[in-house]
């Protein structure tokens, strides 16, 4: 019998969010619990109490298959949909699906709006027009569209709220739901179930072939073979907003996209200061489609990250988002018809280039020089993938690899990335994680953005102008 010291050190990637509670329960039943792995935890790096060679890091679920595939982690737990999303684009990824953990049950559905004119797959195949697919899973969406032999399609990758887009802003949504009834509660009808999905234990192929992870596997297997499985009973309460569709035929209406998440309270406050009355846009009563008193003003609540692209496509005339997301968008699409119309003052952040405290560089030039001696590409993690790409090009950084992240990016340094392009309000969180700022790329605040073509329509322009004036009066210090 070997002692613990003879075992290889094992790194485990654990999910935040939806799967956290069940995963924590399973690990504790398997006697592999991590002290700080709890909902609302602020820790990222976890040490096992039981096995000194086992460490873990907490990631957004979507990041986990990538992190395991590139070999930063030996094992990981995440939902099958994200594994398939990776494999859809990179089928030779180094990921092994080791065990179905059976919790976090749901499906990936290809769905259309109950209020649209698509009701079955047959209607799709016959369609001659462009089919717009909105999704958090762009790779799977492309694969599905090709397999369905859709003649002409475009894919809108979104950060979230895919259910809010059909029928006006997209023909189809490829989205995750617990079951059909949850999908239907979002005014969607399922056309096809693409993938049934549950939580999976995954392994890096090389680790699995070369390392001994059997100790952890034994603990987990013992738990998985127990007759009583309390982790299966933990309900994942999906707090989805209502999504009732109000048909509108008036072409002169002005469409405004409003932010969800952190930006929702200050945006709601701004609307109220501006004297605009809106129903269904408060934290306790949030609808995907809130209603303005002004009948010419239509609203939808989506992720601020997704707004510039949506405005560029004419799905909205206006949107309240951050300058950071606008810059990220125009970094990718320089000729985009989206422009900033008005600074709204709130949501102040800086976008900064960040390295570990101990890295021997005080600015980007020194950072570059320090890296020139290493023949390996610089690993750059960022939520702002296009902005980061342009920044590195403009700074003439030679070899770099971009690692897209979906939040919690500061956890990537120093093990899983060399440089981070991230937003910060005060810099305190960065300092707490032993990180330092090398460069400020931009200062960002919330702003009103608009589509240039909408401003070319006289009837719309009049309304947009008056709305801009209203907002300007409502912004403090203005």
């Amino acid at each position: 019998m070997s002692t613990a010291d003879n075992f290889d050190s094992i790194r485990l990637a654990l999910p935040k969010g939806r799967l956290l509670s069940s995963t924590a329960c399973l690990l504790s039943q398997a006697q592999l619990e991590f002290e700080d792995y709890t909902p609302g935890t602020r820790a990222y790096r976890l040490k096992s109490n039981r096995l000194p060679n086992l460490s873990a890091k907490i990631f957004q679920e979507k990041d986990i298959p990538v992190q395991v595939a590139v070999g930063n982690y030996d094992l990981g737990i995440c939902s099958q949909d994200w594994i398939e999303e990776l494999l859809a684009k990179y089928p030779s990824s180094n990921v092994l699906k080791v065990a179905d953990l059976a919790y976090g049950k749901g499906n990936l559905y290809l769905a259309a709006s109950r209020y649209g004119n698509i009701s079955s797959l047959r209607t799709l195949a016959a369609a001659q027009n462009m089919l717009r697919i909105v999704t958090e899973y762009p790779n799977l969406a492309e694969l599905a569209a090709l397999a369905l032999r859709l003649k002409r399609f475009s894919i809108f990758p979104v950060w979230g709220a895919a259910e809010a887009y059909p029928p006006e802003n997209a023909d189809l949504a490829l989205t995750w739901a617990k079951d059909e009834s949850e999908l239907k509660s979002q005014s969607l009808i399922p056309l096809k179930t693409l993938i049934p999905s549950t939580a999976f234990l995954i392994a890096n192929r090389d680790s699995w072939q070369a390392k001994n992870v059997s100790r952890i596997m034994n603990y987990l297997s013992r738990a998985l073979e127990m007759p009583d499985k309390p982790w299966l009973k933990i309900g994942t309460q999906s707090r989805k907003s209502s999504n009732d569709y109000h048909p509108s035929t008036n072409k002169d209406k002005v469409w405004l996209a409003l932010p969800d998440g952190h930006q929702q309270p200050p945006a709601a406050e701004l609307l109220s200061r501006a004297g605009l009355h809106i129903l269904g846009y408060s934290e306790d009563n949030l609808s995907r489609r809130p209603v303005f008193e002004e009948d010419w003003l239509m609203a939808k609540v989506i992720r601020p990250q997704d707004m510039p692209l949506q405005v560029a496509n004419g799905n909205f005339d206006l949107a309240i988002t951050g300058k950071d997301w606008l810059l990220d968008h125009v970094s990718r699409f320089p000729a985009s018809p989206v422009a900033e119309l008005s600074d709204l003052g709130f949501g102040q952040v800086r976008i900064v280039a960040v390295v570990p405290e101990q890295f021997p560089a005080a600015d980007m030039d020194e950072f570059k020089r320090a890296h020139d001696f290493r023949a390996v590409p610089i690993r750059v993690a960022s939520e702002y993938i296009n902005m980061a790409d342009k920044y590195l090009r403009d700074k003439r950084v030679g070899q770099y690899k971009l690692i897209p992240t979906w939040g919690a990016s500061e956890a990537f340094l120093p093990e899983d990335a060399d440089l981070l392009i991230e937003n910060t309000q005060t810099g305190r969180t960065l300092a707490k994680h032993n990180l330092k700022i090398l460069d400020t790329i931009m200062k960002s605040t919330a702003c009103l953005i608009g589509n240039k073509y909408s401003l070319g329509i006289p009837s719309k322009k009049k309304r947009i102008d008056s709305l801009m004036a209203t907002f300007r009066r409502a912004v403090p210090d203005n």
């Binding site: 089928p91 030779s92 462009m130 717009r132 492309e142 694969l143 569209a145 090709l146 397999a147 032999r149 859709l150 003649k151 002409r152 399609f153 475009s154 894919i155 809108f156 692209l309 560029a312 496509n313 968008h329 990718r332 699409f333 320089p334 000729a335 985009s336 023949a375």
Partner: protein
Amino acid sequence: MISQKCKGARDLLPKDMQAFRFIENAFSQSCLKWGYKEVQTPTLEYLHLFTSAGTLTPNMLSKVYSFLDWDGWSGERVVLRPDGTIPVARLYIENLPQNEIARLFYVTNVFAFEETGTENREKWQCGVELLGSNKPASDTELILLSMEILEQLGIDNVEVQLSHAGVLNALIKELKLNSDEEVRLLDRILDGNWQALTEAGPKNSEINRLVSLFLDPKGKASGFLENLKAMPQLPSNLKVALTNFTEIAGMLDALQCSYRIDITSTRGFEYYTGLCFQLLYRGSMIGSGGRYDNLVPLIGGPETPACGFALYMEPLSNLLQTQIGKKAGSEIMVKCNTATVDAIRTSYELARKLRRKGFVTILDFDGRQTGKLKQVIVQDKPASFLVIDPSTNVKKEASSITEAIKMVGGAT
């Protein structure tokens, strides 16, 4: 040194380009003589040109290089040209009079992802398209043209393998599947899984017997097709396709062009509707083609029968390289060892005149070794020329440019 070349990409070196241009020249000269006109399509096309059922199989589509352009905020993707024929069909629809027959040719690269990176992801081909004719004589024309080009390249004993997409489609129709299942079965077959066709029908059924009669034997003359056509109770679709196949095979018989019939030799392209042919040399495929009557309407044009073929640059250039390397042209080196203005001027003038006489002339002011090249050394004070032929080791002196040219073999 670490290679910085992209995985799956290839540098074409001087010897490769020599073979490349040799093939390109022979190809375009033959095409021009047959009345074909050269075209070129852009490297970038919209993805949707290639997505309809009846264009590329899903397997091929999954290897396409597609991305969003810098103005691609609508989400519509562009691709690096994955196929030669479809863009030319688009070019025809958009630019050429559609009541006339178009005979077009091109030399182009096509891109497809290949997982291991050991094979090329960018491949060159010499393509020919004949749009606007449904006559069997057109199918025959393409086979004869391809044979003539290969002959020009000195490649004899090419094996022609014939199959017929119309026959295949008629067989699939007899299985009475719904349209989704039909497309899926065809996709599997075109990816090389012919087993799927024999497994699709009920065991020991009439249709299965029919399928195996078509798939198993390999014919050597149009008689084989006549035999199949004469079978009792042949479905009418199948009969139509077989009649067309027989007619073309009969023409090839009359032209003494030998071939082998193998229904299972069709690969990869969903757009073929009629005769398909493969060209093999010592077992490896060097070209292929076929009839694609539905492609032009599928991508938005009027009903237009069409057929075409492509020769593959890579296997051809591998076949030719050794023999091309041997016939190197006559090269002369003009060496100037003194750096006086007069000597340099004289050297340039001598080189210019030699080139006019058709010599490949290299100037050398560095005193490099000349190897086996004939050389003329420009001497200063008094101006004279030393002509050296290393093969005979003869050295002669000339007093003028004209005399020097005469000595290296250029008539005045």
